[in-house]
Symmetry: C2
Subunit: 462 residues, 2 copies
């Protein structure tokens, strides 16, 4: 049966592509209030497409943009088939700067086998892989191997502020899901199909130092009172040791160490420090000793200054002794680390190393987003691995990502559901940038991977 489905999917590529192009032509830019109607239209388009293949589908309003919820009606999945949940988003990043696009961002255009449009790969194109796979199953089989639900939001690009309220309002429904499938990442490289099994978490704060009650004249006061800028630099300089390790006490205490298996897997990825440095325009790389670049990026926690503001920043010199200096700090977290605990330790350490003569405050701390790690040996991950092999011709490599997507952690936290990150994009797809693309061979392989995945999950999760 699966073979017939994959075969039909292959034969009907043009039909799928035509549908995707229609969806991509709707400028569903969640960040721009002028496009509120377009965002709604993109949600309705998806609802109608889902209904056309017999799914239940509704546009669920939120305080912001709506969520599209698609579920499998009684009779379209075998009795007792596992419930699997697919997450994605139909909103897109703003397309600006427009002048850098070779074809207009909302006029989807194929050149040399590559589809160009805003949202082509992030994330309409990848959601559409699932929709196409479902279409093929419905066509050939009259129904689906699992009970499939899709929850596709319209605010991912603006931080998903209302997403979990929709999930939590239907907690009883969602908690029957056995796994969460997300197709919103890329494979490692063109020839290296990949599954992502871990993401780093994130937590941030802003530290502000105050010196005198006003900016002072550096002539009349220089040498007599603490300079907030000096104090800030002294503190920041004490956040890392010369070997690139974070010096906050206890920072690494709860880190689950990388396994030998992971380190070996990543060593086999085609990667070169020289090329990486060249691409970034630096003469040397820098980071925590004892780990390779990929290990540092995928599996080690970091503490980064994201911005510093102090004193006069205009042209030329101004002889001011700044009374205020601030810096934004974020930490990327890895499995084992608790965001709240790390932030407590960081703030405690900063309080301790604060130099004399200045006072300190934290103007905010973000709600931490935990890291996520899906067990490599889980049935869902095995199913995903086999699905990728069927679609891309070889077994995928298992990698983590350095970035943070909050949804997997939220589902883990709220419903104890693990996620499988099965993405089909390429690292150079220019997401969030002009000329975003989705290569058609990736799109078509993605459809096959999705179609295969449903059957494999039905088998492994039963």
């Amino acid at each position: 049966m699966m073979d017939s489905v994959l075969c039909w999917a292959d034969k009907n590529r043009d039909q799928f592509l035509a549908g995707l192009k229609k969806w991509l032509s709707i400028p569903s830019i969640s960040a721009q209030p002028d496009h509120r109607g377009d965002v709604a239209a993109a949600a309705e388009w998806l609802r109608d497409e889902a209904r056309s293949i017999g799914m239940n589908a509704e546009v669920v309003p939120t305080a912001g943009h709506p969520v599209v919820l698609i579920t499998t009606p009684e009779g379209l999945a075998p009795k007792g088939a596992p419930h699997i949940l697919i997450y994605g988003h139909y909103d897109v990043q703003p397309p600006e700067p427009l002048e850098l696009w070779e074809s207009p961002p909302f006029v989807p255009t194929v050149r040399d086998g590559i589809l160009y449009a805003r949202g082509a790969v992030d994330d309409k194109g990848q959601v559409h892989c699932h929709l196409s796979a479902l279409t093929a199953w419905k066509q050939i089989n009259g129904g689906f191997p699992c009970r499939i639900s899709m929850i596709i939001e319209g605010e991912e690009e603006v931080g998903s502020p209302n997403f979990m309220s929709v999930v939590n309002a239907r907690k009883d429904f969602f908690k029957t899901a056995k796994t969460l499938i997300i197709s919103d990442t890329s494979i490692y490289s063109r020839d290296v199909p990949t599954l992502t099994y871990g993401l780093r978490g994130l937590v941030g704060t802003e530290m502000v130092l105050h010196g005198a009650n006003t900016d002072l004249h550096s002539g009349a006061y220089g040498g007599t009172v603490a300079n907030s800028g000096h104090a800030l630099c002294e503190m920041v300089a004490r956040l890392h040791d010369p070997q690139g390790r974070v010096t906050v006490p206890g920072f690494y205490d709860d880190v689950i160490p990388l396994t030998e298996k992971e380190r070996q897997m990543w060593k086999q990825l085609p990667y070169s420090d020289e090329q990486f440095a060249k691409d970034l325009g630096v003469t040397e790389l820098f980071g925590e000793v004892g780990y390779t670049t990929l290990e540092r990026k995928y599996g080690r926690p970091t503490l980064e200054i994201n911005g510093i503001t102090c004193g006069y920043q205009g042209p030329g010199n101004k002889t001011v002794l700044p009374n205020r200096a601030s810096c934004k700090i974020t930490c990327r977290l890895v499995p084992g680390q608790d965001a709240e605990k790390i932030m407590d330790r960081l703030q405690e350490y900063l309080r301790r190393i604060k130099p004399a003569g200045v006072t300190m405050e934290f103007t905010y701390r973000t709600k931490g987003s935990p890291s996520c790690l899906t067990p490599l040996e889980s049935p869902a991950m095995e199913a995903a691995g086999e699905a990728m092999k069927l679609a891309f011709g070889k077994m995928p490599v298992f990698k983590r990502e350095g970035g943070s997507i909050p949804v997997p952690a939220w589902f883990k936290e709220s419903l104890n559901i693990d996620s499988v990150l099965i993405g089909f994009g390429l690292p150079d797809d220019r997401i969030h940038a002009p000329n975003e693309k989705f290569e058609l061979c990736q799109y078509y392989a993605g459809i096959k991977a999705c179609a295969a995945l449903y059957a494999l999950l039905a088998e492994k999760l039963k």
Copy 2:
């Protein structure tokens, strides 16, 4: 003779004050192009007043605002009398924020014996002390005890960009001057008349660090390449030791040490660290060990960060790994130090301590302004001391200032003329701020001090 002059000056206070109020009502704001006509009018007012007491006076045009040059005609000074030069400025700072003024800045108003107006003390009021003193001498004596020249510029508040071109064009004339008198400072406190015999110099630069060729995503890249913000903080943290000493090699090599006499003099000034800290709103002071606060401020060189810019500075968090960080640095210099040499050493040191992974550039370095130090034992300084005693009833204290006024150093450099800084303002006169004031008792005492000074200089410099 001098007694009669001082007596006449005392009796004609109202006439002087009326003149000053007229001058102060002209909004000669050099920084604001809309006030170009007012600046010119203030120059012409001064020229006309000088002519009315028989002086030669001209408005000398420059590339910016004009300079008023006032000289003593043949016959109005004794043959062979010393030539003394008075420097000042008739331009004023912008008055904003206007809503904080209790009476309008250009409607000079006396309340409780205090004159309020923009420019009241900085510097029209203090220039007017000299003009009034000359008026008194002319009235009683028909002429002046010295050959007096005044050079009063209209761009002091914008950095005096065109001043020295006027001086240099008349070098032969100016170089006959025996001393430069400047009344643009304040006395130490109400009961402590003061002469300023030293100013710190100034030199500055901006250091920019570059990391990768673009800002990077802190998730995708955090932990793999140098963060320009960390690098900058590490460098700045290495510019001082924990005892507040500048660590740039050779920074203190050429410093002329404070003499025991100076340290003793300053110890006798009414001063309290507790009050100073309280006024600034800090719980503790900070600076180079081994020196009192006043010694650090008057007589020790400093290195201060004036501003830092790096990465994201808007509201909330942005998970960027900043590829650019910059900071502005200025050094206050003391006698003995050469601005160019200090800047060379600073830049050399920064090049040496630059961490791996970033490149560095200096976007500019300012033309250094040297410090100045007038010998305490010079005849001009003695004359000024006696003049202050006659006007204020006790011998002045000799202090230095932490700030920098370039004119004395320029005259020293270009014409080898020492300066006497004889000012009559009070430290709380709110120069550059709303409700600038000149207390009338200071104004009248200033007129007497100037009148006495001319006679004393004629005697000591002959």
